[in-house]
Symmetry: C2
Subunit: 426 residues, 2 copies
């Protein structure tokens, strides 16, 4: 390999040039270190070593993840919360690191105060709606939960206001600008962390499918981009993250689309994954999975090659939706990664943290997941939810928010309106 | 007045000392300029002049405001939107001013892109729910509005994502840090501006009362603090805004509490103010104002002085709620003002803008209004809304979000559950 040094301009697209691009040294123009062969050799070695470390921790993560999926909705939720706490921890400590000189003692507590207020706000709502379905039999608990829901918003508001006043009273002269900056960044961090996790949790309860498929697609896209980039990467994709190449991007897109289509078919056959969870129990799930998950049979056209083993294939309608998710996961979600890369460059940090060997911080792995989770939720709500689910959501509201007398009043009123409209139509 | 100069330490609490505190020169210790009488005279003159300018524009604002209240909900909403645009304009241009050196051309458009996306998101929802009540008779429009609502969220999401991608693609080397900072601040500005206005608009449609009373209380508290501070201000309240004194704060609190109680009684007698508005018309409002606005009569106790003109007084139950609003407006809402003061000091600006003579920018007048609007909404939702209103909200949802067949399905299902529970109880 060391002989490569002499070959000069004839191998600009060889492994060494590729490597230089992928190691992120875009400050140094490619011509400068061309003669330095031994250096490249070391880098080449590192390249494989880092790949193995990364693969190793990936296998562990995927294994643990599969176990949690098997354990059920509440455990997945717990996992999301843990990830979220780690993310907040990484980002908060980053906030302090970049301004190490002007460290303020109370501010760390204030950050976590806001964090837990946001947590109460976001999860209190989700939790209480499930809780009410769980305790619907016990009249006292039912009332208690109803009361909790009623004062949930005002409690969160006063917790926030308390933090807000705390912040104002802790302002120190000559530190104003720094403190206001910290306050703003804390809010940004909370938005980032909670947008991600609240949409993810919402997806989980809509059916694990709607959490697992998008999350897997991002992982597949990441791995595929890494592998394609590793073996075929030549043309740099975007200046922001010099490790990414067009070859990796395109290869990953194709892989992701195919995986989405296949994976949706596999996952779509398990009721454990497709049924929504309306309460907080961890028991087995049975439901009518709906038309989306009922296979439709297509005869394979005559002109299909003879080696193709099936003459008839079954496709779940949800697979077409999976293609949309795949398209998003491979084209738009990577922008979450670019954003994170740009952010890291802006503040001159390599990784957001060092929680996962070979991967960097948890936040580094979550950049695209975040964009994806929000999309998956909105896509599901806008294009997938059959009307019958909307009915159930409104039913939930009625049973949760209204006392029994009002439920009856609403029933009467609705009956009246429906009668009127029926007469109006006929 | 010039003779005051010689009296030295014997008048530290006289008008000049008060003045020094109220002019905001807390960088200069009081002892330094004590001998400089002519200076104080000039300041004193300015003090009255600035008060007159301020009073003059206040009268104009209050007059215009009263006219808009008279014109109705839609016009008040329009006013809120105009205020909101001015605020965003002031804050966005501030963002550029503080970093004049590194001005980026496309960023201004991007800011407004996010602004209008947020606007579509926040108001689209409010608008469409009212709209559906307005067009409920026309079957085609009803369906169209239903469709708009259905794709509202996904539209907003893609508009946001477009802005997000635009931002990433517009990142310029060596500007990363500045650009990410701008991105974060843009989000903070949008949160501030839209939290304020979306809660305000929600209040307006709950009944103008719930917008007008809190907003008036803030204005009254501001004016009272100014007047009390002007005539009796001695003891500085908080370092952040040196113009504020304990005397002003306490005087204003008492005034605000009394005003809240009296004002609620006056405003509570007009149906135009107390009825909620469910559609988008501007016609006259008639409704059963509910028990909150039905006067209760109390006999004045015997020991009351004889000069008191009434032997029986009528009190609306809503007046007790008004006291809570008054308490918040005078104790906690001022922290919005402290926050704004601190922010202005941090970034070394005098005002957020110069739209209103004597007052500074519109943002300067909105600091406490914002905190108050959010509280008024949450208070109203948590403690005031009678259950009958909740019924109407859910009815709205049913009629807006569900096609007719599903409305019937829900009706059947609800009937079944109510039947079951009734049997379970008896």
């Amino acid at each position: 390999m060391q002989k490569d040094t002499g070959s000069g301009p004839s191998t600009p697209s060889g492994p060494t040039a590729r490597l230089r691009r992928r190691r992120g040294s875009n400050e140094v123009p490619p011509e400068v270190d061309k003669g330095n062969g031994s250096h490249l050799l070391v880098n080449d070695h590192n390249k494989y070593k880092s790949m193995i470390t990364r693969a190793y921790s990936s296998v562990w993560m995927i294994g643990g993840f599969a176990l949690i999926i098997y354990m059920g909705h509440l455990y997945i939720w717990a996992m999301v919360v843990v990830i979220q706490i780690f993310m907040a921890k990484e980002l908060f400590s980053l906030l302090r690191k970049t301004h190490e000189d002007s460290h303020l003692p109370g501010f760390r507590h204030l950050n976590w105060h806001f964090f837990f207020t946001a947590m109460l706000f976001v999860y209190g709502r989700i939790l209480s709606q499930r809780l009410v379905n769980t305790v619907t039999m016990d009249k006292f608990l039912y009332k208690l939960v109803g009361r909790l829901i009623k004062y949930h918003m005002v409690t969160c508001y006063f917790l926030y206001i308390a933090g807000f006043m705390w912040f104002i009273l802790s302002l120190k002269k000559k530190m104003y600008k720094y403190q206001f900056g910290q306050y703003a960044w804390t809010h940004m961090i909370l938005i980032v962390v909670f947008t991600q996790s609240s949409f993810t949790v919402a997806n989980i309860f809509e059916g694990i499918f709607w959490f697992l498929l998008p999350a897997s697609l991002i992982v597949i896209n990441d791995i595929a981009a890494y592998i394609f980039g590793f073996f075929f990467g030549k043309t740099p994709l975007i200046k922001l993250s010099p490790k990414k190449t067009w070859e990796g991007f395109i290869g990953a897109s194709v892989t992701t689309m195919i995986s989405a289509f296949v994976l949706a078919n596999i996952l779509g056959h398990f009721q454990w994954l497709t049924c929504p969870r309306k309460d907080l129990s961890t028991g087995w799930l049975h439901c009518d999975p709906g038309s989306l998950f009922k296979p439709e049979y297509f005869t394979v056209p005559e002109w299909f090659p003879e080696w193709f083993p099936w003459r008839e294939i079954s496709i779940l309608p949800v697979q077409w939706h999976a293609l949309c998710l795949g398209l998003f996961a491979s084209i738009i979600a990577p922008f979450g990664g670019f954003f994170a890369s740009g952010f890291k460059r802006a503040f001159k940090i390599k990784d957001f943290g060092d929680s996962i060997p070979g991967h960097g911080g948890i936040t580094d792995r979550m950049d695209c997941q975040m964009v994806m989770a929000v999309f998956a939720y909105i896509y599901h709500q806008s294009f997938v939810v059959p009307q019958s689910l909307s009915i159930e959501m409104i039913m939930d509201q009625i049973l949760v928010n209204l006392p029994f007398e009002d439920q009856r009043a609403l029933y009467m009123k609705l009956g009246q309106i429906i009668m009127e409209r029926q007469f109006g139509e006929s």
